[in-house]
Amino acid sequence: MKEIALHIMDLVQNSIAAGATRVEVSVTRDSAAGRLTVEVADDGRGMPPHLADRAVDPFVTTRTTRRVGLGLPLLAESARQSGGSLVIDSVEGRGTRVTATFGLTHIDRPPLGDMASTLACLLAANPGLEVEYRHRCDGREFVLTASDVRQALDDMDGGAPGGPLVFRSVHGLVSEGLLAACGEDGSQLS
């Protein structure tokens, strides 16, 4: 994966596949500690301990279409290469929290990338999913929740807002919001 934002897309797809209705995503940039932390927490079905412990093994997967699963192993490797690590906390029946830390200034850390597109796609393609995004950069914070966006766009023709409208709105809100809060365009984060 070329961007951390793509890993986040991948983690949220895992959450969706685990039957989650609510996903909390956070990105924390801490310059003083030299650390970038990405966290995705869901209320999906979780994993039993023996599966959670081995989830970063590429030859462990719950899918039936193939015998390999590369999402978490790739993220674990990427985190490790930049001097960070991956931690999976999972409680069966309650949910899963995946925390990846990266060395902020390490040369092998992938860029955060196009967070605006990741969030815009996720919200547009999953109208039933509650997503909360928190982006912290050295104490400042940008927060976006799917319910706020949907409320602002709501009551069109009695139905939910269409995907293209949600996409365009979220993309703009994240790009501009991160520029205002952190001085960095949300569609090309370093």
Binding site: R63, R66, A125, V149, D157, F167, R168, S169
Partner: protein
């Protein structure tokens, strides 16, 4: 570029007007493969292009959803189009440009783009 929630309200009103012009396209569904394989191959850019193209054409009632890996990883990014009265069509190796043509040619005009089809299912 949308800068605030107030601005969203304005966009909403505009979209409301456009909504009355449409009929019949409601049941069309586009599914983008968003497993690890799809994402690594560029599925997010494909989905972004589809949503952008639908938005430009005011086709806001076409449903776009995502799914996980279906086992055809070497053909990713995969895009399925389900149009009423037509078989389900799976397109493979889709990029942003191909995605836009699938919207204009298949979703809007009902003509399947044969050269990129990897499977059909009625």
């Amino acid at each position: 570029m949308v800068k605030s929630l107030d601005e969203l309200a304005k966009i909403r009103d505009k979209a409301k007007e456009a909504l009355n012009l449409r009929a019949g396209e409601k049941e069309t569904k586009i599914i983008v493969g968003m497993g690890t394989c799809g994402i690594a191959a560029g599925a997010r850019e494909v989905m972004a292009a589809i949503l952008d193209e639908l938005g430009k054409r005011n086709l806001t009632e076409v449903t776009v959803t995502q799914t996980g890996c279906i086992g055809l990883c070497d053909k990713e990014p995969l895009v399925d189009v389900l149009r009423p009265g037509q078989p389900r069509v799976s397109y493979g190796r889709v990029d942003a440009e191909r995605a836009r043509r699938i919207v204009t040619q298949h979703v809007v005009n009902g003509q399947i783009v044969g050269e990129w089809v990897v499977g059909t299912q009625s």
